[in-house]
Symmetry: C2
Subunit: 582 residues, 2 copies
Amino acid sequence: MKARQFFISTLKEAPADADIVSQQLMIRAGMIKKLAAGVYTYMPMGLRVIRKIENIVREEMVRSGAVELLMPIVQPAELWVESGRWEKYGPELLRFKDRHQRDFVIQPTSEEVITDIARQEITSWRQLPVNLFQIQTKFRDERRPRFGVMRGREFIMKDGYSFDRDADAAGKSYETMFDAYCRIFNRTGLVFRPVAADTGSIGGNRSNEFQVIADTGEDLIAYCPDSQYAANIELAEAVQVGGERAAATEEMQKVPTPGRDKCELVTELLGLPLTKSVKSVVLASDERDEEGNVLPAKIVLILLRGDHSLNEVKAGKLPELKNGFRFATEAEILKAFGSKPGYLGPVGLDPKEVKIYADRSVINMSDFVVGANEEGFHLRGVNFGRDLPEPEVADLRNVVEGDPSPDGKGTLKLQRGIEVGHVFYLGTKYSEAMHATYLDEEGKSRVLEMGCYGIGISRVAGAAIEQNHDDRGMIWPDAIAPFTVAICPMGYKRSEAVQKVCDELHDKLAAEGIDVILDDRDLRPGPMFADWELIGVPHRIVVGDRGLKNGEIEYANRRTLDQKEMVKVEDAVAFIKSKLKA
Amino acid sequence: MKARQFFISTLKEAPADADIVSQQLMIRAGMIKKLAAGVYTYMPMGLRVIRKIENIVREEMVRSGAVELLMPIVQPAELWVESGRWEKYGPELLRFKDRHQRDFVIQPTSEEVITDIARQEITSWRQLPVNLFQIQTKFRDERRPRFGVMRGREFIMKDGYSFDRDADAAGKSYETMFDAYCRIFNRTGLVFRPVAADTGSIGGNRSNEFQVIADTGEDLIAYCPDSQYAANIELAEAVQVGGERAAATEEMQKVPTPGRDKCELVTELLGLPLTKSVKSVVLASDERDEEGNVLPAKIVLILLRGDHSLNEVKAGKLPELKNGFRFATEAEILKAFGSKPGYLGPVGLDPKEVKIYADRSVINMSDFVVGANEEGFHLRGVNFGRDLPEPEVADLRNVVEGDPSPDGKGTLKLQRGIEVGHVFYLGTKYSEAMHATYLDEEGKSRVLEMGCYGIGISRVAGAAIEQNHDDRGMIWPDAIAPFTVAICPMGYKRSEAVQKVCDELHDKLAAEGIDVILDDRDLRPGPMFADWELIGVPHRIVVGDRGLKNGEIEYANRRTLDQKEMVKVEDAVAFIKSKLKA
């Protein structure tokens, strides 16, 4: 490809509303163009990256035995009513009426449609397993779309769905997809980590997110450098820390702590370490009677060590909170505790009013500090079994760096990631709701077991940049770069020799199937280099009269622009090919 | 590909609501699956066809210098308001509000977005020409979607847009696209015809439709077998027929014609040929004064020879009707003519009430019959210049077979076609409305000249079937067949020899890059052949023990299934390759 035949449009400055580096760089490099909030055009340079990611995904899906189809973007409401998602999905589900006033949605995913296809097409165990996927535009009406293509409203996604005869077979399909995803992300050239993730209301332990490691990631990952353990912070099990419970040495004592409404402030005043304080988090679960009348909310007190933080996903699994919860209002807190927030504690509560759960790491504390349920006062020297009953215990906190790994093989580290893929065992959630069954060997009707498997194609592009960039711009891995090699002539129109070498090299590299672009725009070296450094083409060849005097061209890798190598013109193709293999 | 790894699902019967053969066959062959009216899933077998068509289109677009991008499916209303299409586009434009109550549309095409991109990106004459295209899902909320993928609501379209400095340069872009389209449709292997088409309100003569020839087509095409002339019936020029006007030989005479309210009935009664009668068609154009008050409609009388039919597109170009027209109501007719329809004519009308236009082939008639403007009566022996003034003349009728070709090189024939592509010179319609300008060499701001170029990807698939099918099913051209070669084993599981030859042949053909499917489903020959004949794979190889005794396999082409050829196993790959070249 020659640059003048292509469409290159770079900007010096990113627009003010671009809030992360990938978005800024993609806009500056002319890869995407904003049309509306969270809605982008993929400009030619950006579309090349998208297509390369798509092709890797497609090839590995097909290699794993999955078959591609294409479901409609516009889907009738009926199926969504049947699955229950018409009710449950919030305003992120874009709903509209057609000219005949029938309800439709723009697909955010296609579980309903694929289950509808499966229940029509799959009738016998002989047809199983079936694994179908599509690469298609999706829409989620995010309240606050941001981060460019990372959290857009319109985005490109690969979504795949497996159908199996039972949970064992579904497990095999799941493993097959897990392996395919590892191959896919390995091929992209990105540093990633598959992490265990929460399965929500589905249950079971088959949910893995594929996280591209990047400091700017929204997600926090806990992993053990000494083992295979890795989990999303939401799921990562926090084991008990702090050792055995020591015997009580202090008497419980009410101490004035005016204005000290946080653990840090209280322990500072009392001269105690933060780990001696217990934090009281009050949650509420709204209740209704059978006729739908609103009842007073259930109040749950969560006790956490002062330096720990609540894990809301874990809290949501407590029996009292499993139908949804929120933080209690000040009025509810005043009623149940007799005090305003900041001075709450578990001592002296009415168990009929407040259900208490302690995090694992609280239960072995002694002589600790809690709020006195009276504004401006705390209790110190508090001990379980003596000053208050032994509470129920659960894993309720987020892990922190240095926590023991749940597999017992070392300690946890934390890092940030960007979720680019998700494999998920669905079980019979959709197939049961939509009556997708097959006949087994004995002619007995059974419900299909399903899995779903997503990859955010456009998100992979954003994550790649978050992971790979410098002050000059993006740095693409070879496999998903818009172009693999950029040829930069010094005086393309001025020097016949330069033009001839560039043209020949371009044609030879292209003939080898290498994605090469020759910059024939006749720019000065500064702006030309700046463009290709911004766009992040991984391999650069500079051809100028000075080098050609020695029959040489200059090579540099985008990651190491200072380490230039001079290469004989006749060796250039072989040289580039060796660099691409490396 | 082996059949068991793929997803094959054929039906004996098409659903009752499938109204044309391509829709019936695509559903029966498991290529598409209806989700809602005019909304289909492309099942794996169908998607393969779509992808092959897409790839041909993409390759030829790129070869012609166009650059691919991808615009959003969801587009903000603002741009559509700016272009004027928010008002003008009817209910086929799907409009909806997002969660913030902002207006959006689902794109039926992308003129607005591409013009918005152009006005931001194209600033200088140095950047021109620019030609951008996308292959993307579109939505048109058809009132009555039908014909499967041919007139669906959701469909896949290639839409491209060119930007040029002036009309001359735009003409060159137009020619380039015209040539690219010829290459594209030649490569699909379909019989097609580029035909001149109407340019509507844009004017000029640069509009060509690409019509796939099929008896079931919705469009009528006039062409001259002796020249290059071909035009959509809407545009095809009707030259004057019937020779010079003969002198009047009869007196005008009022004759009773009770109940004879059609030309055929009147001439039958009078014993005259139909070509001696003149048909009166009354059109009306609604008028408003400057303050928007409704005025009485303008009434226009069109005179056509009794055997001719009105061409509404041509009528719409008359000065009185160019802002839109309709057929006059009975009340309007009564008021202007004093008679109810069926007995209308041009004699004795008030020119202030009714404007008269005669078709070219009426003006040279003499002694003709018209309605008497009195129920139950006609006038015979009517002559222009004597019984009524000479009328204004225009080309107002549809051509018929046998009409002289407008290029003077023979006579016209008619055939039916399916429009699969359209190249269109837009001029400055969008660029002017949306202020898309560039600076020329003298630094002067000029409006960009545009062209737009569409190909209905999913429609090509339907048209291919309409053109190529028989009682057994579809017959795909090699280039867009879901698979090129089907290997049908007779006893894949029963005979080791059959399995071995099939597997080896499959692998060798696949290694040659040939799209082969091996049917390892172990079906009986009848159902297996029926499936592949229905699906329409163009080349079939049958491998059975009987043939293998002589070291031979059987080849048949889908078009000529009775002409089987026996081929030595060792020659099979070369033989198939020679068939694919042919």
